[in-house]
């Protein structure tokens, strides 16, 4: 068959064979391996992106959790602080009350003791004065009685009595202190 334009069926088929071999070869040797590599790389980066996203989400979650914990811890600390302050205030009030009571009882006891001692000293002073009076009277009676002598005796009696009273008071005051 004579086809114009030098069209030759056999040569068309030979060109087709050539192209089919080329297309198949290029697909097998270049297109598919490179596409596979590109796909693997895309997946690799997608995986990295996914991991990053997950890590970011996890970090965000942990941060939120930590903030929540921090907030609750702060609240707890505040509550505990308040409770401690309250407890401290109660305890101090209790101690102060007790101390006051104790101080009052100590003062009362001391006053009572001082009173007792005072009475005791006065009693003992009176006894000593009596004894002195008796001793002086005896001395008077035994010695010669003269006006000068009498006056001197009285003076001495008064001085000794005053000294005894003063000494008793001093003793009393020292004990009270």
């Amino acid at each position: 068959m004579d086809i114009p334009l030098n069209i030759d069926i056999l040569q068309i088929l030979l060109h087709m064979l050539n192209f089919v071999i080329l297309a198949g070869g290029l697909s097998f040797l270049l297109y598919k391996p490179v596409n596979r590599f590109l796909e693997q790389r895309r997946e690799h980066f997608a995986q990295i992106e996914k991991e990053n996203k997950e890590a970011t989400e996890e970090n965000e979650r942990l941060r939120a959790e930590y903030e929540q914990k921090l907030k609750s811890a702060e609240e707890e600390i505040l509550e505990q602080k308040k409770a401690a302050e309250k407890e401290l205030a109660n305890a101090s009030a209790k101690y102060i009350g007790e101390a006051k009571e104790r101080a009052a009882s100590i003062i009362l006891a001391a006053e009572r003791e001082a009173e007792d001692r005072k009475e005791h000293i006065l009693e003992s002073a009176q006894t000593e004065i009596g004894e002195l009076v008796v001793a002086a009277t005896q001395k008077l009676l035994s010695d010669t009685v003269t006006p000068e002598r009498n006056s001197a005796l009285y003076d001495e009696f008064i001085r000794v009595a005053e000294d005894t009273v003063a000494e008793s008071r001093k003793k009393h005051d020292r004990k009270s202190v």
């Binding site: 030098n6 030979l14 087709m16 192209f19 071999i21 080329l22 297309a23 290029l26 297109y31």
Partner: protein
Amino acid sequence: MKSDNKSKRFLFLAIWLLIIAIIIVGIVAFWPPGAKHETIKETMQDGVLHEHNRISLFGLEVNPALISAYIVTAVLLIAAALIRIFAIPKFKLIPGKFQSIIEKLVEFFSDMANNNSHHKPKFIGAYIFGAGVYIFFSTIFELFGIQAVTTDGASISLPAPISDINAAIALGVLSYAIILGAGIRFGGLRGALGVLKDFSLPISMSFRLFGALLSGLLVTELVYYYVGLSFVLPVIVAVLFTLLHALIQTYVLATLVSIFYGEAVEPKPKKVKVKKKEVI
């Protein structure tokens, strides 16, 4: 001041060289042509039809473009095998220059297939990758000017494979056959009919490819015919009619095939039968 003087000097030099080039081109253009074995008519006719200069392929007389096609295929397959064996296993996550080129090349066709054919884009991606690479490299093949001996004993420069109408028809018909096959495979009879109604597709594909390549070839032949035009002009002509053609035709055929394939494999919505209203 210094840079002003420098730029002025460059401008002067450029104008001077341009004037010399124009004069040389003028002289050469009017130089009488040397003795030719063929007239320009014969050269052009042979460029289009390849009737005279034929090459023997295992005893069969074929057009030189078929030899070109086989050489292109062999070179491309060897290059692909070398890349597959030595380069692809060393591909890194962060690509180098060569890896980037290969990846871009594959991605270009893969993306084109994915964009134009949403269903089953893998097969057509591989096909248009093969077709694109073949058209591109077979178009720039003529720039190398590989010599071959014809059956008459004359020496010729091997032309671009697609400048032979048989190669263009082969590619056009094969592409159409693939689209038709996909239509039948995925759309059944309706799909086949849908593809068959575009019966002009193989003709338009073949002749577009052939015409585009042929125009470049004819201009190049014309330029090379006259020795006088063979000095500066071939560089411009080669770039315009070879490299640009290579890129444009690669893009056009790959796009057309992927679009028609996508259309053929697209699932067709089932027709809803509307009951005829009863006439009262």
